[in-house]
Symmetry: C2
C-alpha cells in the first residue's frame, strides 16, 4: 500500500465518500488509488473553481465533507475563491493539494510555489505531509478538523513522493464530536432580554436555520415579541410551507439599517454582529444603532438547537410555534417579462424538497419573500461574496441529493466565472434546472457605483459594467458543454419551459432575456 492508497482508504473509512477533482501529474498516484481502494466517488471538474464550489454544495447538503483534489499552487489558487465562500458558509471541506516530490522542491521547477502561503488565508488548518508514513494520519487529522462544528476547511498538501512511497497502514479516524453546549449564563441572559419586552431580534444563521432549530425559535417568538431574522447570506436555509420562516436581513445597506433601526437588542444565534457588506461613503459599517446591545446566545460552533430549546422552555413557550398559514405560492407570473413575474412562477412551481442555489444577485432579491409559501425547500446562498459559485454549488448539492431537484437561480455575470460547472452537471447527469437571468450587465455594479458615490459613469466606466458587446448566448454555451437549454422572452413561454425543465432528467438551462 502506497501513501496515496493509505490516504484514500483513510478518507473512505472516515466517511469521505466523494472527491471532486481536477488532478495533474503530481496527483496521479492518488487518481490511480481510486481504482484500488473501493468506496470513493470521484467527480471531475474542468476548472478548480468548479471542484471547490461543488465540494461546498455537497457539504452543505450532506452535512459532511467531500475531498477535493487540486494540482499544486495554481490549482489551489483557481479553487480558492470558492473555498473562501465555503469558509464563510461554515462549510466543511478537505482539500488535497498535490505538490512536487519533497526532494524536487528545492529545484524551483516552473510549477513550484508557496502552497502553504496560498492555503492559509482560506483554510482553518494547513499541513504538508512529510512522508508516505504520515500521509494517512494527516488525512485522518484533516477529517477531524473539517468535521469540527460548524464545519471547517482543512488543506493537506501531498508531495508526490509521499503518495508513491510505501505507507504504514491507515490513519486513526476521529470520532465526530457534537457541538459543545451553550452556557447557562448565555441562555439566562437571552431569557432576561426577551422577558424585558424591549424590541429584540434573534439574528440567525448556520444550524439556526435548520428545521429543528427554527421550530424552537418559532416557539420563542410565540412566547414574546422577538423578531426572528436570518442573516443576509446563509449556507443552508430550510424554508417554505409549514416551517417557521424568519425575516431576511436585506443586502442593501439602507434597507438593512431600516430593518434594525428600532431594535434595542440583537441576540446572536450562530451569527455575528451585523455589518454592511461593503463600506459606503457617509454610511456606517455597523448595521445596528449605537444604543443597540448585542448578546450572544450561541456561537456557530455551539449546540444551537439545544440552546434554543432550553431558552424556549425557560420562557415557558408554547409547545408549538406559530406557523404562518400561507399555504399557497403566489401563482404563476403573467404579463410583463421581468424579475417579479419570473419570481412568482419560480416560487409557485418550486417542487417539494427542491434545493435552490441562489446566485441571482440583483435579480434574486425579491425571490426570498415570494418563496415563503412555496413547497418546503432548502435555500443555498453565496456567503463570501466571491461570485462564480452557483453552477458548481448546484452540481455538488445534486451529487449529495440525487433524489431532489436542484434549481439554480443564476446571474449571467457570475455564471461566466465558473461556466465549466455545466459540463460536470452534464457528465454526472445531475437534475439541475438553471435559470440564467441574462440582463447582460454586472447589474449590481450599476447600483453599487451610485451607492459609493463615484459620480455619473462615463463611457469607459459603463463599458466595465455591461456585458452586451457581444451578448452571451447561454443556450449555445450550455450546448457546447452537453447541457440542453432554451431561451425565452415572455412569461407564457417561461411558465411552460420551467415546468417542463423541472421534470427533465439531467441538467437543463433556461436563459431569460430580461
Amino acid at each position: 500500500m502506497n501513501g496515496a492508497e493509505s490516504l484514500v482508504a483513510t478518507l473512505v473509512r472516515g466517511g469521505v465518500e466523494v472527491c471532486f477533482a481536477n488532478p495533474g501529474t503530481s496527483e496521479m498516484h492518488f487518481v490511480a488509488a481510486l481504482d484500488r481502494v473501493p468506496g470513493m466517488r470521484c467527480v471531475l471538474g474542468l476548472f478548480e473553481g468548479v471542484v471547490t464550489g461543488a465540494a461546498d454544495g455537497y457539504a452543505r447538503m450532506a452535512d459532511k465533507p467531500a475531498a477535493t483534489l487540486l494540482h499544486l499552487g495554481p490549482g489551489l489558487s483557481n479553487g480558492s475563491a470558492n473555498i473562501h465562500n465555503a469558509r464563510r458558509a461554515l462549510s466543511s471541506m478537505i482539500n488535497i493539494v498535490g505538490d512536487h516530490a519533497t526532494y524536487h522542491r528545492a529545484c524551483d521547477a516552473p510549477l513550484t510555489s508557496d502552497i502553504e502561503g496560498l492555503a492559509r488565508p482560506v483554510s482553518h488548518w494547513v499541513k504538508t505531509s512529510p512522508s508516505a508514513k504520515t500521509v494517512a494520519q494527516d488525512g485522518a487529522d484533516a477529517i477531524a478538523v473539517a468535521r469540527r462544528p460548524p464545519g471547517q476547511i482543512a488543506t493537506l498538501i501531498l508531495p508526490a513522493d509521499t503518495a508513491w512511497e510505501e505507507a504504514d497502514g491507515l490513519g486513526k479516524v476521529p470520532e465526530v464530536k457534537p457541538p459543545a453546549p451553550v452556557s447557562d449564563a448565555a441562555i439566562d441572559e437571552a431569557a432576561r432580554i426577551l422577558r424585558s419586552g424591549e424590541p429584540t431580534v434573534l439574528l440567525m444563521t448556520g444550524q439556526a436555520l435548520r428545521d429543528p432549530a427554527l421550530f424552537q425559535a418559532g416557539r420563542i417568538a410565540a412566547a414574546c415579541s422577538a423578531r426572528l431574522v436570518a442573516q443576509t447570506s446563509n449556507g443552508r436555509w430550510e424554508r417554505g410551507r409549514g416551517r417557521v420562516n424568519p425575516e431576511h436581513l436585506p443586502y442593501p445597506v439602507d434597507e438593512a439599517l431600516r430593518s434594525l433601526a428600532e431594535v434595542s437588542h440583537v441576540i446572536l444565534v450562530g451569527a455575528k454582529s451585523p455589518v454592511a457588506f461593503f463600506a459606503y461613503p457617509g454610511k456606517p459599517s455597523q448595521l445596528i444603532s449605537e444604543d443597540c446591545q448585542v448578546h450572544q446566545l450561541a456561537r456557530a460552533d455551539e449546540d444551537i438547537t439545544g440552546a434554543l430549546t432550553e431558552l424556549a422552555n425557560l420562557l415557558k413557550a408554547p409547545p408549538q410555534p406559530v406557523i404562518e398559514q400561507r399555504t399557497e405560492a403566489p401563482g404563476l407570473g403573467r404579463g410583463d417579462f421581468g424579475v417579479e413575474n419570473l419570481s412568482r412562477t419560480i416560487a409557485t412551481l418550486l417542487p417539494e424538497q427542491a434545493i435552490v442555489v441562489d446566485e441571482a444577485l440583483t435579480s434574486g432579491r425579491m425571490m426570498l419573500g415570494l418563496t415563503r409559501g412555496s413547497a418546503p425547500h432548502d435555500w443555498l446562498q453565496i456567503c463570501g461574496g466571491a461570485i462564480g459559485i452557483g453552477m458548481p454549488l448546484a452540481a455538488g448539492a445534486a451529487v449529495a441529493c440525487p433524489d431532489r431537484r436542484v434549481v439554480g437561480l443564476q446571474a449571467d455575470g457570475s455564471a461566466m466565472y465558473t461556466v465549466q460547472g455545466l459540463w460536470t452537471q452534464a457528465r454526472e447527469n445531475l437534475n439541475v434546472t438553471t435559470v440564467v437571468f441574462a440582463n447582460r450587465s454586472y447589474q449590481c455594479l450599476h447600483t453599487e457605483l451610485a451607492a459609493v458615490r463615484a459620480g455619473t459613469p462615463g463611457t469607459l466606466a459603463l463599458d466595465m459594467l455591461n456585458l452586451d458587446r457581444p451578448d452571451l448566448d447561454w443556450v449555445q454555451l450550455a450546448a457546447g458543454m452537453g447541457v440542453p437549454g432554451m431561451a425565452v422572452d415572455d412569461m407564457d413561454a417561461f411558465n411552460g419551459v420551467f415546468a417542463d425543465a423541472l421534470t427533465h432528467r439531467g441538467p437543463f438551462l433556461i436563459q431569460v432575456n430580461i
Copy 2:
C-alpha cells in the same frame, strides 16, 4: 482629485496605458476615474484569469507592464494562476487589488480576507496603500518595481476609501533603468570554457531569445562548437526564417537528459540550471550529468545582449552568425488528419510577424521544429505550468500588437480553464486565430501517469483524464461568446479554413477533431 484619479493619472504618466479589468464595488472609483483621466485603455475580462493572462501577453509583446484591476482577495485568487505564469515568464505586471475601506476591514465582512497573504506567493512586491495621499506614490513605486529588469510583479492593494478620499497630486514616476552590465569575470570565464572546445551548451531564455541577442549568440556559435539551446518554456522567443534558431530543450525528462548527456559545460544566459518539470520515481531532478559544470554568463536581470556581444567580440567571432538557410516551410500537410500534418500546415501558412501563443501541450511538441523555417514570428509559451493561459495571453498580445496576427495553438483541456478569454477577443475584435486540438482528454496526463509509474489506470482513473463524456463543442462555446468558428475533420478542410481564418478580421476558432 481623489485617490483613484491620482493613481490612474500616475499610471498613465508612467507609461501604463492599458488596464485589464474585472472590477467590483470596491473598485468603482477607479473605474469612474477612467473617464476623468485620459490615456488609459480599459479591457474587460469576464473572469480574472483572463485579466491577468492578458496582462502577461500584453507585457511580453509591449515590453512594458499593463495594470490589472481585481476585486479583493477572491478576485486576486482567480487571477493568481496566470500571475504565477507571468512571474515564471519574467513578465512585468501591476496588479491593483481593491479592498474594503480601511475602517471597514475590522468588521470582517463576507469578502474580507488576507489579501497580502494571497498576493505574496505570486508577487515581487506587495503593498496596501494606507491613505488617499499615498496612493499615487505607491502606484509610482509599483511601476518602478514592475519595470525592474527583466520584469516583475507588483501588487498594490487599494482600500476603497483611499480611492474616494482627496489625494495630494501625482506620484513621482521613476526612470526606467536599463539592465545592469555583466561582470568582466563572467564574460572571461565563458570565453575560457568556449575556447576549451569541450562540449558546451549556451542555455538561453528571456532577452537571450530576442533577435539582437540571438544574433550575437549566433556569432559565438560560429566561432566555436557551442550549442545554442533555448530553455523548455520561454516568455517570448523570436524565431523563424533569417534568424538564429537555437535548439529547444525538450519537456519529456528522458529526451532532455539525452539532449544534455554529453555536455561538459552549461553556460546560463538568462536561464537557470535545467531541472525536470516534475519529479519521477527513479529519475533525476537535475537534467545535467553529475560531472557537467554550470557557469553563469548573465542573470535574467542583467544586460544579456551586451554580455553576448562582448563575449562574441572577445572570441573574435565573425561579424555575422551562420543562419540556417532553410527558406521554406515544410509545406501543407496532406493525408492523415493528425498533429504532424496540422503542424506542417500551420508552419507553412504562419504569416509574417505572427505571434504564436502555444498552449497546445502534447499536440504542440513537434511544432517548434517545423516552424524553424517559417516566416519570422514570436513564440509565447506557458512558463509556469498553470494551464489556462492561452486564450487570455492571445488577447493581451493582440491588444499590444493590433497589426500582427495572433495564432493560438490550444489544447482543449487547458482552454476550458479560461474559456471566457474568447469573449474578450470578440469584444475587442482582436485578430486571434485559435486552433483547438480537440483530443477530448488531458492527453498529457495519460503520458504522465505512465511516467510516474502509477500503474495501469482503472476505470475511475481514466475518467479523471478523459473529457469525452460529454464531448465539448468548441464551435458552440465560441459562438456563445461571439466568436465565429468551424470544426474540421480532414486536412483539406483544415488547409482551407486555416488560410481563410488568418485573414479574418477579429477572432476565429477552428476545432480540429484529432
